[in-house]
């Protein structure tokens, strides 16, 4: 049932994309060709796009996971009960495009932070405000995704902390003489990370394929892969459509291979951990 409803449509979609990229279908196709594949895979910009997507994904995920781990290790119960537990859900309800607009309004040269800096006398004109959106390093994109990812991981880790009874291990470590910081870093964090690893990887892949925030907050010379694919698909040359499909297939193949490898390694480690008497369960 899962294969029929989830895998089959995906395979059919990839099959169609593959046929389009090889010139086998499409109203303007002129028959089988590898030219579109050569054009995309031979382009340095495509690989720069892949690298930039990976950069944004890794930085966002590492920052969000780090901050979330820190919060949960410091205040494990606060996010499960009380008013803060409701407040933390709020950013999750904001669509990516709205979050991108919020970041744009906050961090652009004419935005709120810049105006505050001007009023405080930190800058003497809007042009002195550093470029935090549409910038080379993707700071704006990372900020937008971080604001969505951090609450997600805080809720996730807080629930994991309770369900996996991490507190008991922390207390045990404290009884054996570990300090609070040591117990958090050496006991709680590794336990939570091990259990959360597949979710972290999948979230990272989700950020890597993001579209809305990179479109508004990115720059054209450093694009993320989905923006490049849509550009090829929609602007303005119909002859570029097969290249959009090549970019999508190549991207899918790379991230799927990466995901299978990472999750496979994690599964092996968990089995080893179980074999050595650890408490972990196979995911």
């Amino acid at each position: 049932m899962f294969i029929a409803l989830a895998v089959l449509p995906l395979l059919l979609g990839l099959g169609y994309a593959m046929a389009y990229s090889l010139g086998l279908v499409g109203l303007l196709s002129e028959g089988f060709t590898l030219a579109h594949w050569e054009e995309v895979l031979g382009s340095a910009f495509f690989w720069r796009t892949m690298a930039f997507s990976a950069w944004v994904s890794v930085v966002t995920t590492v920052l969000a996971v780090g901050v979330a781990l820190g919060f949960v290790a410091a205040w494990p119960r606060v996010f499960l009960r009380g008013s803060l537990s409701l407040f933390i859900y709020f950013p999750l309800a904001i669509p990516a495009i709205v979050m991108a607009f919020i970041v744009f309004q906050m961090l652009s040269a004419g935005g709120l932070v810049s105006r505050l800096a001007y009023q405080l006398g930190l800058i003497s004109g809007l042009e002195q405000f550093p470029g935090l959106v549409n910038d080379y390093w993707g700071i704006g994109i990372i900020a937008a995704h971080f604001l969505m990812a951090a609450p997600f991981f805080i809720i996730f880790f807080a629930n994991l902390y309770e369900n996996e009874q991490v507190e008991e291990f922390v207390q045990l470590a404290r009884t054996l003489g570990a300090g609070a910081r040591q117990a958090a870093l050496r006991v709680a964090a590794p336990l939570l990370l091990r259990r959360a690893f597949p979710t972290i990887v999948l979230y990272g892949l989700f950020v890597m394929g993001a579209y809305e925030a990179p479109l508004l907050l990115g720059r054209q010379s450093n694009q993320m892969v989905s923006v490049l694919a849509i550009q090829k698909l929609q602007r303005f040359n119909l002859g570029d459509i097969p290249q959009a499909y090549v970019a999508c297939i190549a991207y899918s193949a790379i991230v799927l291979s990466l995901a299978v490898w990472l999750l496979g390694r994690n599964g092996e480690e968990r089995l080893k951990y179980q074999g050595s008497g650890g408490r972990g369960k196979k995911v």
């Binding site: 049932m1 029929a4 089959l8 059919l12 279908v25 499409g26 109203l27 303007l28 910009f45 744009f104 652009s108 040269a109 004419g110 935005g111 809007l126 042009e127 470029g131 549409n134 910038d135 080379y136 479109l215 508004l216 990115g218 720059r219 054209q220 010379s221 694009q223 698909l233 929609q234 602007r235 303005f236 040359n237 119909l238 570029d240």
Partner: protein, 413 residues
């Protein structure tokens, strides 16, 4: 075990049926579709249209345009012609992709009946054979349109040939803040000098309007619009485009974000103009500055102008999908949209401010008078004054090549 196998077989059969049906399922055509709408008299077309639903796809990025369509056109066509007008958001590439997918899937009845198109979309839809026509000579109100006017009868140097009906006419305008730039630049050289003195206050978008700006520069560099008139000329493009990129490279360090990023569309540019980050923005609609001041988005000091070398004037059109299910009703709606009443209302700056495609000489005197009495624009030069600096559109291939080469030469893609 056998029951399990049967259940699996039934599931596979069900899924395969859905896939086969969705890939190439034939739908029954409505009876009126069989009749050739082009051979029918107008009264019969109106009769056939009654009770139909027309799916219109159009750009919905402006509240005034949306209000005009939702609060005026929709009720009017329902009341007068019994047509239900359904409006969906989408433009350019969305329309092309939708019709392309339908044609590839062999779908006999399109989801779209009427589309707001122009320029490169018209070119691409003709390329894939997705437009119905020629149909505009069937419209009674088409007699008021001057198809001989090259800014109306020609869409990006391509004759409309009855495959699209002119709906509005606009000219590109550069918008500036008159308090910050009391003497805005009038040509390429002045722009370069200006941005050197005031770096970061000027840019252009990475979409349609920005490409229109690049086309204006290209025409200027080539020595005037007549040099690039007519079909796409590869040799001329190769001669003049490098000079354009040289100029943009000279300009680049002084543009917004040192020219390392460009706004993806005019909407973020308008936003940055409104909050003071930019001193200039642009619009393909010369009346937009008045709209935006009326909406409170732009400051009162915002003004629109055109360079001494001119800006591109073009028209936008309504097209009917080749496989539209309700061609008769789509034609009736299009005929209403070009009626003197609908065009007069649309040209009012407080309503939309879109230039009419109707020829004043061809209109009855009472309508000529009504058009003359329309309130003028306060923030843009009079239309007649701008007309003297109107440049024709270039062939669509120029825009396609400029878009691709801009990415390569300036963005380093």
């Amino acid at each position: 075990m056998i029951r399990e196998q049967k259940r699996r077989s039934a599931l596979w059969f069900f899924l395969s049926s859905i896939l086969l049906w969705s890939c190439g399922g034939q739908q029954e055509r409505r009876p009126e579709e069989a009749a050739d709408v082009l051979s029918m008299p107008w009264e019969a077309i109106e009769q056939q249209a009654r009770g139909s639903t027309v799916n219109l796809m159009m750009w919905q990025g402006d509240p005034l345009i949306n209000a005009y369509m939702e609060q005026y056109v929709k009720p009017a066509v329902k009341e007068r012609f019994g047509i239900n007008l359904r409006i969906a958001g989408g433009q350019g590439s969305i329309i092309v992709q939708a019709l392309l997918a339908e044609l590839q899937a062999g779908r006999p009845n399109s989801e779209l009946d009427l589309m707001w198109i122009n320029g490169e979309t018209f070119y691409q839809l003709r390329q894939i054979g997705a437009l119905f026509g020629p149909w505009t000579d069937k419209l009674p109100n088409a007699r008021y349109i001057d198809f001989e006017n090259p800014f109306i009868g020609q869409d990006f140097q391509q004759p409309a040939d009855g495959f699209e009906c002119p709906w509005g006419n606009v000219q590109m305008a550069i918008i500036y803040d008159s308090l910050k730039a009391p003497a805005p630049p009038q040509d390429r050289a002045e722009l370069l000098a200006f941005v050197r003195r005031h770096p970061g206050c000027f840019t252009f978008d990475n979409h349609f309007t920005g490409l229109t700006f690049l086309k204006i520069l290209l025409m200027d560099i080539a020595g005037g619009p007549q040099v690039l008139a007519g079909p796409f000329d590869e040799e001329k493009y190769r001669r003049y485009a490098p000079l354009l990129w040289d100029y943009i490279r000279e300009l680049k360090p002084y543009l917004w974000k040192q020219g390392n990023a460009f706004p993806e569309a005019v909407a973020p540019m308008h936003q940055m103009f409104a909050n003071g980050e930019l001193w200039f923005t642009m619009s393909n609609n010369d009346s937009e500055v008045d709209n935006k001041v009326l909406q409170g988005l732009f400051p009162e000091s915002a003004r629109a102008y055109v360079w001494e070398v001119g800006t591109i004037q073009n028209s936008h059109y309504m097209g009917i999908a080749r496989n539209a299910a309700n061609k008769a009703a789509a034609m009736v709606v299009a005929n209403f949209l070009i009626s003197p009443e609908a065009q007069h209302r649309k040209q009012d700056p407080a309503v939309w401010g879109d230039g009419t495609v109707l020829s004043m000489e061809k209109l009855p005197p009472e309508w000529q008078e009504k058009f003359r009495k329309l309130p003028g624009r306060r923030h843009a030069p009079p239309r007649e004054q701008m007309q003297a600096r109107a440049l024709p559109e270039l062939a669509p291939e120029y825009m396609i090549r400029l878009a691709a080469d801009f990415r390569k030469e300036i963005l380093g893609q």
